[in-house]
C-alpha cells in the first residue's frame, strides 16, 4: 500500500514533468547538446584558431645588425616571419600588435662572435600573446641554431669532438598509457560536468514540485488527500532523482559519443593526430558505468537538498533565488578537484562533491583505488541519507509548508 502511493505520486509527477518545457530542456536537451557543442565545437574552434595563428606571417622588427650581414640575411630568409625596418616606436607597435616581436642585434655582433666575445641578442615580445610567442619562438630557434653552428666551428677549429660540450643526453619518456595521461588532464572536467549536470537536472523539478506547487495553489489540494506526507515527499523525491540521474546518464552518454567522434575526426589527418594527442580520451563502458555509479549518491544528495531548500520558498522565483547560489556551493569543490596537484587523501575523501570529482578523475584515468571508492561511496550515501531525512522532516512542518 505504501509503495503504491509513492508510485502514484511519482507517475503523476512524471506526467507533469514531461509536459513541462523547462524541465525537459534542463534534463534532456541541455545534457544532450552540451557535450557535443563543448567538445566538438569548442575543440574544432580551438584547432582552427591555433592553426590560423600559426599560418599568419608575423612581422618582426629588426633593430641594429647593420654590421652583422650574415645573421641579418639568415633572419630575412626565415620562413613564415617578415622582417620590417626599425622605427622608434617599436615598443608601442608590439603592444598595439602592429608587429609581433622585435629582435635586437648588438653593435659589432658578428665581429664579437668571431673574436669570441660574448654578446646578448634580445628578443622583445608580448608575453602570453599567442602570435607574439610564435614569432619569438622562430627567431629564438634561428639564433640558437646559429649559436650551435658557431660552437661546431669552434670545436672543429680546435679538433675537438662535439661530445666535449655534450657529455651525455637527458631524455624523458612517458610510460603511462595514453588514456591515463589524458585522464589526468581531462578526468577532472568530466567529473565536474557530470556533477554540475546532475545538479541542473534536479534543479527545475525540485523547484516545480515544491515552491511551484505552493505558487499554483495545489499544495493545499494535495495535502487534503489521504496520502501521508512521507509518501508524498518520497514520490516527489524519486521524480527529482530521476531527473538528476537522467541528466547525468544523458550527459555521460553524450560525452562518450562526443569524444569518440572527436577522436575519429582527429585521427583522420596527421596534423589532427598531433594536435589532439593529448585530447583523445577512450571512455570504455566500464568507465562510463563507474562514473555513473559514483554519481548515484551525489544525485540523491542534490535531489533531497534542493527539494528541501526549494520547499521553503513560496514561489518559483523565490526558489530560484535560493537555489542559484547553491550552484556555486557545488561548483567550487568540483572546480577545486580540477586544480593540478589536488589528489585524493583520506581527509579530502570525506568532503562531499570534491571527493566524487577527484574520484571521477581517477576513474576516467582507469585507476580504481578501492579503499577510496568505498569511503567516498559510503560517506556520500550518509550525506544523501541525512539530506533525505531532513527533506522528509521539513515536509512534515507546517511552518515550512504554509510559510507566510
Amino acid at each position: 500500500m505504501s509503495m503504491r502511493n509513492v508510485g502514484i505520486v511519482y507517475r503523476k509527477e512524471l506526467t507533469e514533468a514531461i509536459r513541462d518545457r523547462r524541465t525537459v530542456i534542463s534534463t534532456i536537451l541541455v545534457p544532450l547538446l552540451l557535450f557535443p557543442v563543448l567538445s566538438v565545437g569548442f575543440g574544432a574552434l580551438a584547432f582552427t584558431l591555433v592553426g590560423k595563428a600559426k599560418e599568419e606571417v608575423p612581422k618582426v622588427m629588426l633593430r641594429g645588425g647593420d654590421d652583422s650581414p650574415t645573421v641579418v640575411d639568415g633572419l630575412r630568409k626565415l620562413d613564415k616571419i617578415e622582417i620590417v625596418p626599425e622605427t622608434p616606436n617599436w615598443k608601442d607597435q608590439i603592444i598595439n600588435k602592429e608587429i609581433r616581436a622585435a629582435v635586437e642585434i648588438p653593435v659589432g655582433f658578428q665581429a664579437d662572435v668571431a673574436g669570441q666575445k660574448s654578446d646578448t641578442v634580445k628578443i622583445y615580445n608580448y608575453e602570453g600573446e599567442l602570435k607574439s610567442e610564435f614569432a619569438t619562438e622562430k627567431v629564438e630557434k634561428y639564433m640558437k641554431e646559429y649559436r650551435d653552428l658557431v660552437i661546431k666551428e669552434r670545436l672543429a677549429a680546435r679538433n675537438l669532438p662535439e661530445t666535449v660540450l655534450k657529455p651525455f643526453e637527458v631524455k624523458h619518456e612517458n610510460v603511462a598509457p595514453p588514456e591515463k595521461v589524458s585522464g589526468a588532464a581531462f578526468g577532472g572536467i568530466i567529473g565536474y560536468m557530470v556533477i554540475l549536470l546532475c545538479m541542473t537536472g534536479a534543479m527545475y523539478p525540485a523547484m516545480d514540485l515544491t515552491a511551484g506547487e505552493k505558487e499554483r495553489g495545489t499544495m493545499e489540494t494535495i495535502l487534503s488527500s489521504p496520502i501521508s506526507r512521507m509518501h508524498l515527499v518520497l514520490g516527489k523525491f524519486f521524480l527529482i532523482l530521476t531527473a538528476a540521474l537522467g541528466t547525468a546518464a544523458l550527459s555521460v552518454l553524450s560525452m562518450g559519443v562526443s569524444f569518440s567522434v572527436l577522436g575519429h575526426y582527429t585521427s583522420q589527418s596527421a596534423a589532427g593526430r598531433e594536435a589532439a594527442s593529448g585530447l583523445i580520451l577512450k571512455l570504455g563502458p566500464t568507465t562510463v558505468l563507474s562514473v555513473f555509479l559514483m554519481a548515484l549518491p551525489v544525485a540523491v544528495l542534490f535531489s533531497a537538498t534542493l527539494m528541501t531548500i526549494a520547499l521553503f520558498a513560496k514561489t518559483y522565483k523565490e526558489a530560484q533565488s535560493y537555489l542559484t547560489p547553491m550552484t556555486f556551493v557545488v561548483v567550487i569543490p568540483a572546480v577545486a578537484a580540477m586544480l593540478p596537484g589536488v589528489e585524493l587523501t583520506p581527509k579530502l575523501s570525506l568532503i562531499p562533491i570534491l571527493n566524487v570529482s577527484l574520484l571521477c578523475k581517477e576513474l576516467v584515468a582507469g585507476t580504481y583505488h578501492w579503499n577510496y571508492i568505498s569511503i567516498i561511496f559510503a560517506s556520500t550515501c550518509v550525506y544523501a541519507a541525512a539530506a533525505l531525512f531532513i527533506a522528509i522532516k521539513m515536509f512534515q512542518r507546517e511552518s515550512v509548508l504554509f510559510r507566510s
Binding site: 509536459r19 495553489g217 487534503s224
Partner: protein, 251 residues
Amino acid sequence: MIEARGLSKRFQDKKRGEIRAVDNVTFTCQPGKIYGLLGANGAGKTTTLRMLATILEPTDGTAVVCGHDVIDDPEKVRANVGFLSTATALYRRLTAQEFVEYFGRLNGLDEATLKKRIDNVFNRLDMNGFRDRRCDKLSTGMIQKTSIARTLVHDPLVMIFDEPTNGLDIMSARTITAFIRECRDQGKTVIFSTHIMSEVEKLCDTIGIIQSGKLLVEGSLAQLREKYGEQDLEEIFVKVVTPHYVAEENN
C-alpha cells in the same frame, strides 16, 4: 459527523509573539445538515477548517471526524473528507480526467472502481466535453466542476468548504452553492466558511460566528434572530462581533 473539542491553534510570530488563530473552539456538525462558519477575514475560519481536514495539526484540543481523531488518525480522516476551497487549485498540466483519477487513486480506489466513479461523476457534472482537456485550458466554470469532481471521486461522508465562492462570478458561485445543497440532501455532513451573509442565510442549518479565533455564538438563524432581536443576519453579526473587533483593533 464532526465534533470539534476545544480545538486550538497557536502560531509563533516574530513581531507579534504568540498568535491564537483558533482558541478553544467546540462545536458539532450533524449528518444531513449544513454548518456555516461566519467570520471576518483573519477570524480563524480557514485555520479551523484546515485542522478539521488535518492539513494543520491542532496545538490543543482535537476533533473527531467520522469517528477518527484528527491527531491520531489524520489519513483516515482525510479519506472520509472532501475538502474544497478557492485555494485548492488544479494541476495545470494534467487533463481534467487525469486530475480526478489522481485523487481517486490516492484515495485507494482500484482501477475498476475508479473508472466507474469517474464516469458517474463526469456524467453527473456534465464534464464529458472537457474530459481530456488540460486544466490550464479550462474556463472558471469547468475548473469549479473539476474541483467538485475531485472532492466527490471517493464519495466522502464529510464535506468541508473553505470560502468556496470567494472571487467567483455569480454563475460559478451558484454551481458551488447548488453542490453544497446536494451534498446535504445526500446525507453528508457539511461545514463551510464564508463572510457572505446571504449564503449563510440561504444554506445553513446551524450558524457559528467566529472572531479572533473564538466561537462567539452558535445556533440556527431563527435562534439568533430571537436572541439578538434583529431580522437581518448582518446586524446580528455586527452586534456579536463589534466588542471583540474593537478590542482587537486597540490591541
